[in-house]
């Protein structure tokens, strides 16, 4: 009994810890005071109204969206192909290659950003967006390879065998048997990649330019004196956006397949 109560208590404390900063930011976005206070003083939507008039934030939101969608798509496609190849090809140095593909995780992202920036300037590539897409694709790829790779390991081999016995061609096996079976894992990696890219500050610091300025960097450079309630309002909308994204994808494809099953 005592372990059960302390477990519940610990979980409650953990939830407070997890949600604390969110509650403060969301609450702060409705305060009437000129800076974020908690508990909020009064209630107003004026910060949201002020935000709606900011074209620069809207542009940055679009930049971030484009970037996150492009990086997520690139990482998902490349990562899934690589994970499939790693799962079925058996060549010398496969494990080393897998480790190599995971390396963006262990490299400090700010350095990757600096290094990539220097290299892009060296090649005189004029597009900052291209650099950002490469950078974001690189740092989201390990998540995709990990998640999809894990799903392939757990995949029942008899599925593919059964399909082969039934006379399915390799392409059919891939698209109608293997892909649907690992679809939940791909979906999870899409969500992870999108969130990681959308909220990326460190790799983007040096890669953004006058033509693209992602939302996290916009926020980073906007904060002058303190997080003012307008920044809290942006953050609140972003939290809402991310939740809706996750819930929407979940409704459409069913996350319970991944997290719902119980042994």
């Amino acid at each position: 009994m005592i372990p059960r109560i302390s477990l519940s208590l610990w979980t409650t404390l953990t939830l407070i810890f997890l949600l604390g900063p969110l509650v403060i930011i969301v609450g702060g976005s409705f305060t009437e005071a000129p800076h974020v206070t908690f508990p909020p003083e009064g209630f107003t939507l004026k910060w949201y109204a002020q935000l709606m008039e900011r074209e620069d934030f809207l542009e940055s939101f679009i930049d971030s969206m484009v970037l996150a969608v492009a990086a997520t798509a690139a990482a998902t496609i490349l990562g899934t192909i690589a994970a499939l190849a790693l799962a079925r090809e058996n060549f010398k140095g496969r494990e080393a290659f897998r480790a190599f593909l995971m390396s963006p995780l262990i490299l400090p992202t700010v350095v990757t950003g600096v290094a990539l920036f220097q290299f892009i300037r060296l090649l005189e590539i004029p597009s900052n967006m291209l650099g950002l897409i490469i950078g974001h694709t690189l740092i989201t790829l390990p998540y995709v390879i990990r998640t999809v790779g894990a799903a392939l390991v757990g995949l029942d081999k008899s599925l593919a065998e059964a399909a082969e016995v039934l006379g399915a061609k390799p392409a059919r096996i891939l698209f109608q048997v293997v892909m649907p079976a690992i679809a939940p894992a791909i979906l999870v990696s899409v969500i992870f990649a999108f969130i990681v890219s959308f909220d990326q500050v460190t790799i983007s610091i040096f890669l953004t330019g006058p033509d693209v300025m992602t939302l996290p960097i916009r926020i980073y450079t906007y904060i002058e004196f303190a997080i003012d309630p307008m920044i809290a309002a942006v953050s609140t909308l972003l939290i809402l956006f991310a939740y809706l994204l996750v819930v929407g994808l979940e409704r459409a494809f069913g996350l319970d397949k991944v997290f719902g099953k119980k042994g």
């Binding site: 484009v66 492009a70 798509a73 300037r121 610091i205 006058p210 450079t221």
Partner: protein, 341 residues
């Protein structure tokens, strides 16, 4: 189910492909790219400066927001093909870039407004098109202490002293002040480190936002701080005041430099000229950015809050960056040794 998933992926791939296309197009010649500050500063530029400038020079201004510490590495990384035409820099960065060959040479002929700038903010005193002058004043909480007569009064065990991190211009200046109080100077900053280390109760603040937070939360009772920003806190109703100790206060000059190999050198000099104009600086004055132009006139109430007038401006001391700049790596290392871990 299968269809919707396939559609979703195809759609995502399509969006990604299309969205990258326009960005591959090379930078158009009429783009004029500046590196400048975010927040309020960029808002004033948008409202007051850019429309007129674009019309006069037939260019489209694009801003990259950030700080000198971000712009300079990017310029160094791409000397032949710089990402900016012009950047906003602090005096130390301007001097650093001069030594490292990052700037186009100054052209007083192309920037006639330079004649109206205080002598201390233009060549030969400083190789920079200066538009703003800041003062680092001594801010203190009058409930915790009397107005300090000397910077030395901040070494007092009843208060918590806010110390600016070394990675800012004023961080180095405060270190120099501490050194000077203890028999050192710009050539010998070690006594400064010792004095900071020996302070009974000090707190490092990293940048203005952090400093604001620490003043608001009462975590710092006194600190060297931007005068106009202290003013903002006072206007907010915080128990705070500022004073100029007997040793004097340091100033900082911020302005613009034309980046070497800029493709729009002419327009860049026009921007520099405008940045030094009275009109430009008057647009910034209500937000407490103090003018470098001698001819700017402010009404008495506003002038009170500004670093304003020849007498005040000429009373400011400035860091000797030709000495301090090369010491930055060494100072940073010593700082980390002293205060972290």
């Amino acid at each position: 189910m299968t269809v919707s998933r396939r559609k979703f992926l195809a759609g995502a791939a399509g969006v990604a492909a299309v969205s990258t296309l326009p960005t591959f197009s090379a930078r158009a010649a009429e783009d004029f790219i500046i590196g400048t500050y975010g927040g309020l500063y960029s808002e004033i530029l948008d409202a007051e400066v850019i429309p007129g400038f674009e019309q006069a020079n037939n260019v489209s201004v694009q801003k990259e927001l950030g700080w000198g510490s971000k712009f300079i590495p990017k310029i160094i990384a791409s000397k032949a093909n710089p990402p900016y035409d012009l950047v906003y820099v602090n005096e130390d960065e301007s001097i650093f870039g001069d030594a490292a060959g990052l700037w186009e040479p100054m052209q007083p002929d192309a920037t006639p407004n330079i004649a109206e700038i205080y002598d201390i903010a233009k060549p030969p005193a400083l190789p920079q098109y200066t538009c703003t002058i800041y003062e680092f004043t001594c801010a203190y909480n009058p409930e915790k202490m009397d107005a300090p007569k000397s910077w030395g009064d901040l070494w007092n065990d009843k208060i918590t002293l806010g110390v600016p991190h070394i990675s800012s211009t004023y961080g180095m200046l405060f270190l120099q002040i501490a050194a000077e109080l203890n028999g050192g100077g710009v050539d010998n900053l070690d006594p400064g480190f010792k004095a900071l280390e020996d302070h009974p109760s000090m707190k490092i603040y990293k940048g203005v936002t952090d400093g604001f937070g620490k003043f608001r939360q009462g975590e710092m009772d006194a600190a060297l701080f931007y005068r106009h920003r202290v003013q903002l806190l006072i206007d907010e109703g915080l128990s705070l005041d500022f004073t100029a100790p007997s040793e004097g206060t340091y100033g900082m000059r911020t302005g613009v430099r034309v980046v070497k190999n800029s493709r729009n050198v002419e327009a860049a000099h026009d921007w520099a000229n405008r940045a030094m104009s009275a009109a430009y600086q008057e647009a910034f004055a209500p937000k407490l950015y103090s003018p470098s132009n001698k001819t700017v006139t402010l009404d008495a109430e506003l002038a009170e809050k500004h670093v304003y007038g020849a007498e005040k401006v000429n009373s400011l001391k400035f860091g000797d960056w030709s000495v301090l700049n090369p010491k930055k790596p060494e100072l940073l290392e010593k700082w980390n040794r002293t205060f972290t871990g």
